[in-house]
């Protein structure tokens, strides 16, 4: 979801029930038969006209997947998933070839319009007259992924002029095979874990970003994921490589229609930051969370990892997690370069019967590496939320520093919040701090706000946003505004 204030308004106008992104788009689809075997993988690879090496890479991942088992250590519970009962490929029917806005199915454009995602470069560039006091929005380049396929990427010309590559990863495989081959799986190996192996075997699309030496990416980049098709898993793959002294800020958003059955989403994101490079990766995760009785919703099993390879490189993850029936996600940083910096700022909201087990891993390898973890967990309804984090300092990481703060806020008395920090230190010179708090929204606070004229919902929104402020302020400004509203919508009906 890109940083646009209209998004919420656009979305609210849809007038759906409490999950306002739950509509379905009727569009002509090309769907692979259900089931996962080597033939499915060959079919995906053939449809995408991939080179032989990538097919082999996928097949190796598939074989690794067969040998791994689904992780069971997370504090989430769900019935067993039948991996043979899913479609692994679904794409809107259209001719292959270079994509321009004119060629995109108008029904698709309308879908993104409904979601408030600006895919019209012209309209955005021309700008609309803004009320006094508001500043013009900088344009955001968007890669829109619909089910398994990228439908359009905006502002590619502007970015190309700056030397930045921003395109669907399937195109990158074709146009920049050397780059993709060099970095794909270099941070999250194909057989890393059950879900990552699955993704490596069947991933269909996602975004590729390459920022060459010394270039500051001239605009925010954004990928917007939309699951639409039924019984379809979504497996996207994002790869961002930032060379020496370059920088990029990348946003990611996602929604899905309301469905009674659960849908699987297993993505992999790999980030590579070279010397003095910096990557800011922000996510507003708003997959369909299921209804108030816990029916339906997305299973979100995601592997995100960044490698700070160069000295003084920096990777910053900011996430606002409000959606999904189950979230299993640990955006991590491998701090290899001397003096490299890893950051993780997270707000996870669970309501009704949602379950979230999320956190981060900070692996300190290089000297004087630093990491900061700020995790805010808000639980309401019958939901359960866990922060799970690992701080590991290896013997050579002299002068390593970590600061971790985990705060949980409980709303009501039927929900749970858990904090599971792992700390492994093998260097006596390292400094590691951990702080944790748990609190409830107090009756006093609610009454105080209501006495000042705020409705109960607004009061909760205000208090929750206050609680999350340390994280929200890390988001790009307009994304933060949107995240605030989203928090409030997610918690609607959680009090009283």
């Amino acid at each position: 979801m890109p940083a646009v204030t209209e998004t919420r308004e656009a979305v609210e106008k849809l007038g759906q029930s409490s999950y306002k992104w739950g509509f379905e788009t009727d569009i002509d689809m090309d769907v692979a038969p259900k089931g996962l075997n080597e033939d499915t993988i060959r079919l995906i690879s053939a449809r995408k006209e991939e080179p032989e090496w990538l097919l082999e890479w996928r097949l190796a991942a598939y074989r690794a997947w067969l040998k791994t088992t689904e992780p069971e250590w997370a504090k989430v519970s769900y019935p067993p998933i039948d991996y043979q009962d899913l479609h692994y490929y679904a794409a809107p029917k259209k001719k292959p070839g270079p994509k321009s806005l004119e060629e995109v199915d108008p029904e698709l454009l309308r879908t993104y319009e409904k979601l408030g995602i600006p895919l019209h470069e012209q309209a955005m560039l021309a700008g609309v007259e803004l009320p006094e006091g508001e500043t013009a929005r900088p344009p955001v380049a968007v890669d829109a992924v619909f089910d398994s396929v990228s439908v359009v990427t905006t502002f590619r010309k502007t970015l190309e002029e700056a030397g930045v590559i921003f395109c669907p990863i399937s195109e990158a495989v074709r146009d920049y095979p050397d780059l993709v081959r060099k970095y794909l799986g270099s941070v999250v190996p194909a057989g890393d874990n059950f879900y990552a192996a699955l993704n490596s075997a069947v991933f269909t699309d996602g975004s590729f970003v390459f920022v060459p030496k010394g270039v500051r990416c001239p605009m925010e980049l954004s990928t917007y994921f939309r699951i639409n098709a039924k019984n379809t898993g979504q497996f996207e793959r994002t790869l961002i490589v930032v060379e020496d002294g370059a920088s990029v800020s990348y946003l990611e958003g996602c929604t899905a229609p309301m469905r009674d059955e659960n849908q699987l989403h297993a993505a992999v994101v790999e980030l590579v930051a070279m010397e003095d490079a910096s990557i800011k990766y922000s996510t507003v995760q708003n997959w369909y969370p299921g209804d108030e009785n816990g029916r339906g919703g997305i299973y979100n099993f995601v592997t995100k990892r960044g490698a700070c390879r160069g000295a003084r490189s920096k990777i910053s993850w900011t996430q606002v997690e409000t959606g999904s029936a189950i979230t299993w996600k640990y955006p991590s940083c491998i701090l290899q370069g001397e003096g490299s910096v890893g950051e993780f700022y997270s707000v996870a909201v669970t309501n009704n019967h949602q379950q979230a087990d999320t956190g981060t891993k900070m692996i300190h390898i290089g000297r004087n590496t630093r990491s900061t973890i700020i995790a805010k967990t808000i639980s309401a309804g019958h939901s359960d939320s866990t922060y799970r984090g690992l701080v590991r300092v290896l013997p050579k990481a002299s002068g390593a520093r970590n600061f971790t703060q985990c705060d949980s806020l409980l709303i009501g008395d039927q929900c749970g919040a858990h904090t599971v920090p792992y700390i492994e230190n093998r260097n006596m010179g390292a400094r590691i701090e951990h702080e944790a708090t748990t609190s409830k929204i107090s009756e006093d606070q609610l009454f105080y706000c209501r006495q000042r004229g705020l409705s109960e919902e607004d009061a909760v929104g205000l208090i929750v946003n206050g609680f999350c402020r340390d994280v929200l302020k890390e988001l790009p400004m307009e994304f933060a505004v949107e995240a605030q509203k989203l928090l409030q919508i997610s918690l609607e009906g959680s009090v009283g």
Partner: protein
């Protein structure tokens, strides 16, 4: 009946540690428009409970009586509806809201009541201008608008912040629950002046206090003595000096005898 605020036979109780405790035992009190009344009385007489019940705190159960506020049944209204109707409570212990910016909180509140009253919302610039001017009148440090609501405020700062909120929310009826407690002489005068600035034919107030000193600055039209959940005596502003000299003993004895 004053047609402004009429409290009649008000009884309320609270569930404390599983035990029902009756705190208000038939309060009768009328405040006409434009008047400032004070309530004095010993600790535990129900003064703060009265203010909470009027503001709509849900912990208290009203068991009997009526409260008519400008022609409406106050007890039927939600706390935010009472605020929109013009009722303001300055808290004895203002609540902290971590991470919530004071100016943002104030603006959200002001615009919520303005919306409910059918007025236009204030834009950020106009609001900040008004808020800064009001804060200056109360000798508040400019950075208090930028800090989190009541977090790390001294006792005096918290009380001034309450008066600032009151000024901006433009209530027709304000309850000040021991707003003078914990204030030094200068702060007391500033707070009292803040309240006095609001005095007009369309503003009434109920001032709960233990001390005559606040009433020196904030001369009330009437003073009521509250004890054991009832108003036991009422009089003019001179009553404050009498209480200061003699205490409540005589009023209590008279009430016992009656």
């Amino acid at each position: 009946m004053t047609q402004f605020l009429d409290i009649s036979g008000l009884c309320a109780r609270i569930d404390a540690d599983g035990q029902e405790k009756e705190i208000l035992k038939g309060v009768d009190l009328s405040i006409p428009p434009g008047e400032v009344h004070a309530i004095m009385g010993p600790n535990g007489s129900g003064k703060s409970t009265l203010s909470y019940v009027l503001a709509g705190r849900e912990d208290y159960e009203v068991t009997a009586g009526t409260v008519n506020f400008q022609g409406k049944d106050l007890l039927e209204m939600e706390p935010e509806e009472r605020a929109a109707a013009g009722l303001f409570l300055a808290f004895q212990s203002p609540i902290e809201l971590p991470g919530v910016n004071n100016a943002n909180f104030l603006r959200t509140a002001v615009n919520a009541v303005r919306r409910a009253r059918g007025k236009d919302e204030l834009d950020a610039v106009t609001f900040l201008k008004t808020a800064r001017a009001a804060a200056k009148e109360l000798s508040m440090a400019p950075d208090m608008l930028k800090r989190n609501v009541n977090v790390g405020f001294s006792g005096g700062e918290k009380k001034r912040n309450e008066v600032l909120q009151m000024t901006l929310l433009e209530p027709s009826f304000a309850i000040l629950d021991e707003t003078d407690s914990g204030l030094d002489v200068d702060a007391l005068r500033i707070v009292a002046e803040g309240v006095n600035r609001l005095r007009s034919p369309s503003f009434s107030a109920l001032v709960i206090t233990h001390h005559q000193r606040l009433l020196d600055y904030l001369v009330p039209d009437r003073i009521h003595v509250m004890a054991k959940g009832r108003i036991i005596h009422s009089g003019g502003p001179e009553l404050a000096q009498q209480i200061d000299r003699e205490g409540y003993t005589r009023f209590l004895a008279e009430a016992e005898a009656a």
